[in-house]
Symmetry: C2
Subunit: 377 residues, 2 copies
Amino acid sequence: MKFEIVRDELLDGLNDVMKAISSKVTIPILTGIKIEVNENGMSMIGSNSDITIRTFIPVERDGKELIKIEEKGSIILQARVFSEIIRKLPTNEVKINVTDGLQTLIQSGKSEFKLIGSNPDEYPVLPEVKDEHSFTLQSDLMKSIIRETVFAVSQQETRPILTGVHWTVEDGRLSCVATDSHRLARRLATPENMPSIPFSFVIPGKSLQEFNKILPDSNDPVEILISDQQVLFKINHVLFYSRLLEGNYPDTSRLIPEDHKTSIVVNGRALLQSIDRASLVAKEEQNNIVRFSTDEKMIEISSNSPEVGKVEELVEAVKVEGEELKISFSAKYMMDALRAIDGQDIEIQFTGAMRPFILKSVDSDSILQLILPVRTY
Amino acid sequence: MKFEIVRDELLDGLNDVMKAISSKVTIPILTGIKIEVNENGMSMIGSNSDITIRTFIPVERDGKELIKIEEKGSIILQARVFSEIIRKLPTNEVKINVTDGLQTLIQSGKSEFKLIGSNPDEYPVLPEVKDEHSFTLQSDLMKSIIRETVFAVSQQETRPILTGVHWTVEDGRLSCVATDSHRLARRLATPENMPSIPFSFVIPGKSLQEFNKILPDSNDPVEILISDQQVLFKINHVLFYSRLLEGNYPDTSRLIPEDHKTSIVVNGRALLQSIDRASLVAKEEQNNIVRFSTDEKMIEISSNSPEVGKVEELVEAVKVEGEELKISFSAKYMMDALRAIDGQDIEIQFTGAMRPFILKSVDSDSILQLILPVRTY
């Protein structure tokens, strides 16, 4: 293997692949990146066995030569050292040359590294994702979906299935649900050209968080291919593989109340800031609980800690309809939900102090956030 | 105590005082901030027993009213909660009112906190710094002195005196020295109006690092008062107290070689970048050691790790004079020293492979960095 490459391109690709590299892997070979060069370009693969990322740099783009290939081949190099070296090289031209056996020469300006590589045949083969189901989303929609749901997955491994986000395709509609059994986030979308056969799958929350870091804020298409145990996202020159969670995701549709007794419309940002302040007193206690009560026009948020003191916040509502209400809930869950809906006027629908309540934007039903209250009143 | 204050002013003061607050203090009262209001303004005091910071906000500045005082008084409030509350208040007007006993009402907009304060009489009295010795430095000079020396203090408590920077005033000159016994940093300065009586003191490195965060990048004067056990820095409305280290600082002047056998002039930034790259291979090993050798015009930096591989860097020297040299040293110490001298052309003077060598700017003798080599050649 012998080639010359533009450093900035190599660095961009490395930054993506490094998202899959973990120092905690138990398989030693996965501390390395597999590099492969053929007549079309250079690919790099990184993996932590849960997720695998493959990125590709073509020989040329828009008429500009990115790689000069003298000899095809492949090698595995230590991921951390390799990426730090590339980041710090003195010039934008890098020559990489596997010389004697596995010894890899990296040259740039008056800087010369000889790294000890590993045999590329030892690298695990890429998961095979049979094209059982597939559809396409725009990158920016995919980013919203992840941002609005993934925070609500369970952080505990007691019910592993709840550490993922449940994606369901049915009747041309996509539904994404996450719950840790104390709160739930649901995002609906109706992208074009959805498959007509219904199917569903559960993607680990951590995989989505890593994938989100790679996704551009653009309308580039993300192709999504699903087989039994794997999902594959394709975006531009990146392939992102994740294992899927096995098991049956609980039926969450019945959790969501259909009617309500109290409805409040309020500015999401104002409410978020008030809850944030109230939680300064609340968080010293175990459960970070705030109280919430309504009258005809105002919302009062309060919290009380024997050690720290008390707080009372008043927020003017746009509209209050239905029964008066006193309810208590986790300030953290409420803030997560309000951040997901992001600052617009929001509607909160309650069916009583001990029943789950929902939050959504007044403009759209696409995002729904549900929170279970706690008993304090 | 009852007053109204501009939130941004309060926040600026709090940000300074919070530098002294530590969650690790063993004296519970020091998790609080002491607030005191009199006819001149408001003061806040925070302390972790090593350092104490007092900041003062005057009733008015440049004709603008900052504080409206209704009633004088004092209170102690929990530092973390109080500063987070002030940071997140909804408006720029804050009313603070110690009502019933120690209960403290904080109001801003429609937000109302009742914090449980502590008795202000329980707060330790400020250290008394008798004006035994004093002088004045400009804030930006003080910042340079700290930046160029403090990194070289010892991180180990085996010889506590070496965890501080040794300041000596003699013959109108200020000398600041730090060493961890493997390397040494010395900064000389000749500020105006230095006292004629010689004296010296050792300031804990940690205190200087915290003080540096408060110092503005301006030529504002810093007044420095020293007594037996304490130093007091006065800058604008801030008083910064630190304990001094007790004991005799070792005589370091004899460590610094007076003559040399090899002298190299090189661009500091180019050398720093090369050493940084070489250390990528070196740092996998225990001691982060790189080799350094010269010929008539070039410097070669190399490192070798059985697991990772090899690196060779060539740096063009501006001038090489004297004997050829092969020497090894810690890449980290060298990078720290080069960062302190900061990018100018630097001169390195060697007296042999096993003798300490020094670095200084070609333009000035005010900064000197000394490093002990290690034996590998």
